[in-house]
């Protein structure tokens, strides 16, 4: 017996919204970063749901790409964050506006 796509999509939407709001309202770079990951995975969940529902492998394939890109992003992003922490005691996103040039 199957639940149908609706609960999955609701969950995905909820996760995405939490992530988006987190990116917008939090100042801590690390937390913002985690929120971005949350949004990515919400999208992944949607992909998988629809792939299953439409019986189309393309959605699942795309999820793999997203995972790979997310992993690479995590590497680069964490590297930047770590190096920021080396130079300053705290790291809020607003402190980094000096980078605007």
């Amino acid at each position: 017996m199957s639940l149908g796509p609706t609960p999955y999509l609701v969950l995905a939407a909820a996760l995405f919204s939490i992530g988006a709001i987190g990116v917008l309202v939090r100042r801590n770079v690390l937390v913002m970063f985690m929120c971005v990951e949350l949004m990515l995975n919400a999208v992944n969940l949607t992909f998988v749901t629809f792939a299953r529902r439409l019986d189309d492998i393309a959605g699942q394939t795309l999820v793999f790409f997203v995972l790979v890109v997310a992993a690479a992003e995590v590497v680069v992003g964490l590297g930047i964050i770590v190096s920021i922490f080396r130079h300053r005691t705290s790291a809020t996103a607003d402190d980094l506006r000096i980078l605007k040039g």
Partner: protein, 651 residues
């Protein structure tokens, strides 16, 4: 032999190029001799072509040859080739242009001695001769226009040759601009003619040339074409009302005045009229206009010449007056007479200008007749030359001027007695002002001794400046032989040039017959009437000389009452033009400098810069550096797009 026609303009062109690139290295006086030699070779080439043309006399009665050089303009059905027309008219023009120019070049070697831009002067002169030859030998209107403009440009360069003097620079600009006004007429006339006949070429075998189809053009169009061409001629030949540039052009070196403003350039207008005779001849309105403008210019200029104090200005107005005679001749249909007078005038006017140059040199650049006097004792050769030139221009037999001027007057009599009357009054004035010039310059007291505080200063300046060292201090003395010999040649020609077209033989007229054909008319007056008219004109001329003689004897230097300001200022034409055209023009220019340039043009330029700047500083605020605000705009943008998609899918 006719095939050597391209050499005629080629020599001066080569001379110009050589002088431009190597003139400075050649130095003085070699550059001058190179220039003279180029024109001399051109003269020889013209002689050869002339002989060739004479030997062609038997061939089909058609003595027109076209020497095709290369295809020049071939656009959209317009064909204007670089081709030379060799016919009696163009060869006559080329002969006297190169001949007189050669003499003037030689004279200039002496006159321009020690000028810092000696070689440049000869380069310009050669370019001028080249342009003039292109003008007279062109076989179509476009090439003629090229020469026409070249002559104008060279005139600008040469009048303004001493451009360090402000007056010379202004005069050069004036000459150029006034000429342009005439050029507009010439251009419009050309276009109208092209529109009517579809070709620029003068003569085409089979009768399809621009000048061969006058009967195919509607009467009013033909009149318009003829009059527009005449406007061009008026500008170039300094007739009323476009004469104002000629007197001012005397700011140029004297050989330039002799070359351009007496012998060659100003005759281009007359040449154009004679060349376009087939068109003119078909329009009595145009002919009448030409005759009236010519006669009035002759009279007007003669009156002004009577009251001028600058020796060169007297001669300049005299040139305008004599050109008026030429137009008068053309206007009454006596085209060959116009050419005849042009040739004789070239000789004696060049002679007079050269003599004036000697006088000016002898008195250390003094041009004021009132500060001359008694030069006969110091400049005997020049005096003789001026007497010959003066008698020739006054029309005293048997000098050349008598024969040509008499024929002009005869033709005028035959056409219209009033024109003749204007001509005869001008004869009197001509004799009067030339005699006045002679008396003021060569007779009377030595006014240059007392009047020349500036003369003495020039004498001291001569110590430092090598330019003046041969005329500073001491008594005035003759110029070197290099200047005198060309004058003697011209004096000889001024005496004998009448034989070109003596009443019995009419050699020039017969020579030009193939070109002018059955055009115009030749007065067939009774011999007794001709003799009477000739006697009248001689008597009037002698009366003019006598009047000047009586006045000159009695009151020296010259009574003020005979030089009213009206005449001295040339009937206030210049101030009038300045009032009508220059002042409103200046006001308009100043207004548009303020309103158009400052406001509109600068406004657009500065405004667009300011707009970009404002946009930039506005947009810069968006880059705050806050990641959350970027993220918010991304989220907002996404929301808007989603909303739009939703609205679209529901509606």
């Amino acid at each position: 032999m006719i095939d050597s026609a391209p050499f005629i303009p080629a020599f001066p062109l080569v001379g110009f190029l050589l002088l431009t690139f190597f003139g400075k290295r050649l130095g003085q006086p070699k550059a001058g001799w190179l220039g003279s030699g180029a024109v001399g070779l051109s003269f020889l080439a013209t002689l050869v072509v002339h002989l060739g043309l004479l030997s062609h006399i038997s061939e089909a009665g058609n003595r027109q040859h076209t020497v095709h050089l290369f295809d020049w303009l071939s656009v959209a059905g317009i064909n204007a080739d670089a081709a030379l027309l060799v016919d009696p008219l163009s060869v006559t023009m080329a002969l006297f242009v190169t001949g007189v120019s050669m003499l003037i070049h030689i004279y200039s070697v002496g006159y321009m001695k020690d000028d810092p831009r000696f070689h440049q002067f000869f380069a310009y002169m050669n370019l001028f001769v080249f342009s003039m030859l292109v003008l007279v030998m062109a076989d179509n209107f476009v090439l003629l226009f090229l020469g026409w403009e070249g002559v104008g440009a060279c005139s600008y360069l040469l009048v303004g040759f001493w451009f360090e003097r402000k007056s010379a620079a202004t005069a050069a600009k004036k000459a150029f601009i006034v000429n342009r006004i005439g050029d507009v007429g010439l251009l419009l006339g050309m276009f109208l003619l092209y529109n009517a006949v579809g070709t620029f070429t003068f003569f085409v075998d089979g009768g399809a040339g621009a000048l061969q189809q006058s009967e195919a053009i509607a009467g009013s169009t033909l009149t318009a074409i003829a009059l527009l061409l005449f406007v061009g001629a008026v500008g170039k030949s300094a007739q009323l009302p476009l004469f104002v540039w000629l007197p001012d052009a005397m700011e140029g070196p004297t050989p330039v005045s002799a070359l351009i403003h007496a012998a060659t350039m100003v005759t281009a207008g007359v040449y154009l009229m004679v060349r376009a005779a087939p068109l003119l001849d078909a329009s009595s309105t145009a002919l009448m206009t030409v005759a009236v403008v010519g006669a009035l210019s002759a009279l007007f200029a003669a009156t002004v010449a009577c009251a001028q104090n600058d020796i060169k200005r007297v001669l300049a107005y005299s040139t305008m007056s004599q050109l008026g005679y030429m137009f008068l001749a053309v206007g009454v249909g006596a085209y060959s007479v116009g050419i005849f007078h042009m040739v004789t005038h070239a000789f004696f006017k060049a002679l007079l200008f050269m003599s004036a140059g000697v006088v000016i040199h002898a008195l250390a650049d003094q041009q004021d007749l009132k500060k001359m006097g008694s030069l006969r004792r110091y400049l005997p050769y020049t005096y003789a030359c001026v007497i010959i030139g003066g008698l020739a221009i006054s029309g005293i037999p048997p000098l050349s001027g008598f024969w040509s001027k008499d024929e002009v007057l005869l033709s005028a009599w035959d056409e219209n007695k009033a024109l003749w009357a204007v001509g005869i009054v001008t004869v009197f004035l001509t004799a009067y002002y030339m005699s006045r010039l002679v008396f003021l310059a060569f007779e009377g007291r030595e006014r240059w001794r007392t009047a020349s505080g500036d003369n003495a200063s020039v004498g001291t300046k001569a110590k430092e400046e090598p330019v003046a060292d041969h005329h500073g201090g001491g008594d005035p003395h003759e110029s070197p032989r290099v200047m005198l010999i060309p004058m003697f040649v011209l004096a000889f020609l001024s005496v004998v040039a009448g034989v070109l077209n003596l009443p019995g033989s009419s050699a020039l007229r017969n020579f030009l017959e193939p070109v002018l054909g059955g055009l115009g008319h030749h007065p067939e007056l009774a011999t007794s009437l001709e003799v009477t008219l000739a006697l009248v004109s001689v008597a009037v001329a002698i009366a003019g000389i006598a009047a000047a003689w009586l006045i000159g004897r009695k009151s020296a230097p010259w009574p003020q009452s005979l030089e009213p300001r009206l005449l001295a200022r040339a009937w206030f034409i210049d101030p009038l033009y300045s009032l009508i055209f220059e002042k409103p023009g200046a006001v308009l220019a100043r207004w548009s400098a303020f309103a158009i340039d400052d406001r509109v043009i600068d406004g657009v330029v500065n405004g667009s810069a300011r707009l970009v700047g404002a946009t930039g500083s506005g947009l810069r605020r968006l880059q705050s550096g806050y990641v959350r605000s970027y993220a918010l705009s991304i989220a907002g943008g996404t929301a808007v797009i989603l909303l739009w998609v939703l609205v679209r899918s529901f509606s």
